[in-house]
Subunit: 339 residues, 2 copies
DNA sequence: GTGAAAGCGCTAACAT
DNA sequence: ATGTTAGCGCTTTCAC
């Protein structure tokens, strides 16, 4: 590496002290310095190709201008838009995101947390929240800034950003009810995820509000395979076939779609399916998936906004932001066939 | 924030000098310190919950243990697995990735580059390479470590990791030829992307090697809309309908699928379609997409490996690593119907 | 094997 | 408005 140019080099070329350079180049203090010298410094900086060393600044200010973003798996299509939303907000403010995946393993999460802490991130956005989490409790007591995304914590009053799950599920059930469905199955996710739990609860109350009997089966994970296996098991169980399925997310819905296909059942004529999230390319599935659209980009930027607030505030205010969702009707739902 | 525990705190508790603590806690120097004192230090560190300050270490060693990863758009399903591959490799070695998106805009790329440089990343993985790029030339002269991913640079001898494009396209053409297709259209990407260009060339030579006349249409971008529009335009042009389309990537193939559907044409009975990349959920499209699988995870980890090598080496060796690809046959390809 | 001292590049009192 | 000084937390000579 060629020797990097530092603030002292700029100072020397501009014929001023390095403290003056520091002041001139910083937005917040540049007013303290004479316009003429400031310009001189600017020129010198550009001439030398000076790039400030944020590492050194961080050490001095104990502000790293980075935040840690922890997700279960980047490969889950849910997360890329969320992360883009986070980034959009952060980069506009000079912040950068440090990304880590946990693959749902607590051990990975601890490791990621520690590694990011070692890098002195100014705060975290956590999109991995289980309902209970010693890590979080510990973080809270250490006064670490955290914003939860999608899944909240029950133990610790960190701010939370989510879509309106209750409303989304209600819209799905309404839609099916209007089509004439009366026998609807909820393909739920693991109940220790707060979103899965919330949606299952929402399903129950939406059904009972409409005089429908809620039926439910629980998948072992939030992915396509689990959805397929769970639906397979249900279909093989001999229980009466529902005319519609409301899945707790699109991946599970996709699994249900695969399972129905393998069992020679047609969607939507035999069974309607509704997903949740409106993941990218949901409209290209076979059939195009009716689903609840969640504003993932907004979820991300809102979480970033809350975190920035938390960082710049002395006392954290536990705040829950609920963003509106909307039902996107495509071809996987239709009126039930008479049987 | 509660005052962070530093190396001095540990030193005090352990009753040694902080330099000794530093030596004891560093893998590479821990052998220099007496086993007994080392243990004493370990205990003190754990007792205090000491977390090393990588920021301070970076300042001292001018090694930040971070690398910048620049992609066009995280939301493109191509990239998440690549990034996971990168991360898997990096985290195992104590490194972390700093992620930035460019949305294909040179200005964004410059900004990202500068911001990451300010954070003193030890190197870059670039998955955005246009064929020419002043930024890269500049970086090369500044002796900055870079590994290119997917798309190479023609101007500067940075290492490159790609899938075997020529082989993949040849496999697609072979597959179609074996099914009996003789009139194949290549739905190409913008020709200033090196991958698009390589694949177009590969298509031409694969066709001529089999005595087929290559036909080609070029999309304006590498996304679904561009693919759809391009196919629309082709279908409306009145040119004779090919019996098969080989797209330069899955997104374009998806656009072609949408366009065919809108024109009342069935895939595969009217037109077969082959994609490229085997993006997640390609098997769930309507119809499930025949496509060329690229080992994205490996692409990422290989790039990370090369970068680690480049960082620890004095002189960079320009190396191109080509990973094997494989054709995945699904339902979007079938023998041509007699017309 | 361990301690002392210097310094990475920057910012923030304090002084002028 | 600018210069001086100290120090963020760590690693790394150099002594002992």
């Amino acid at each position: 590496m060629p020797k990097r140019v530092t603030i002292s080099d700029v100072a020397e070329l501009a014929g001023v002290h390095k403290a003056t350079v520091s002041r001139a180049l910083n937005e917040l203090t540049s007013h303290q310095v004479n316009t003429t010298t400031a310009r001189k410094i600017q020129r010198a900086a550009i001439q030398l190709g000076y790039i400030p060393n944020i590492v050194a600044r961080s050490l001095r200010t104990s502000l790293s201008m980075t935040v840690g973003v922890i997700v279960p798996d980047l490969t889950n299509p849910l997360f890329p838009p969320i992360i883009r939303g986070i980034e959009n907000y952060l980069t506009a403010r000079g912040y950068t995101a440090l990304l880590a995946n946990t693959d749902g393993q607590d051990r990975h999460e601890e490791l990621a947390f520690e590694s990011l802490l070692a890098r002195r991130v100014d705060g975290f956005i956590l999109a991995t929240g289980h309902s209970q989490h010693p890590l979080l409790v510990d973080a809270y007591h250490r006064n670490i800034r955290v914003v939860m995304l999608n899944r909240g914590s029950l133990q610790v009053p960190y701010p939370l950003v989510t879509g309106d799950d209750a409303d989304g599920i209600a819209a799905a059930v309404d839609h099916l009810a209007e089509l004439g469905h009366t026998d609807i199955l909820h393909l739920a996710g693991p109940q220790d995820f707060s979103t899965s739990h919330t949606r299952a609860e929402a399903f129950r109350s939406a059904c009972s509000a409409r005089g429908l009997r809620p039926r439910m089966t629980v998948a072992s994970a939030l992915n396509v395979n689990a959805g397929e296996q769970s639906t397979d098991a249900f279909l093989r169980s001999g229980k009466p076939l529902p005319t519609a399925i409301v899945a707790s997310n699109d991946l599970l819905a996709l699994g249900a779609l695969r399972s129905l296909r393998h069992h020679g059942l047609d969607c939507p004529s035999d069974v309607s399916v509704v997903g949740y999230n409106d993941m990218p390319f949901a409209e290209d599935f076979s059939p195009p998936l009716t689903t609840v659209r969640v504003p993932h980009l907004d979820l991300g930027s809102e979480a970033a906004r809350l975190l920035m607030e938390a960082i710049s505030t002395e006392h954290q205010i536990p705040l829950t932001v609920t963003l509106p969702v909307s039902l996107i009707v495509r071809d996987s739902t239709a009126p039930p066939r008479d049987r």
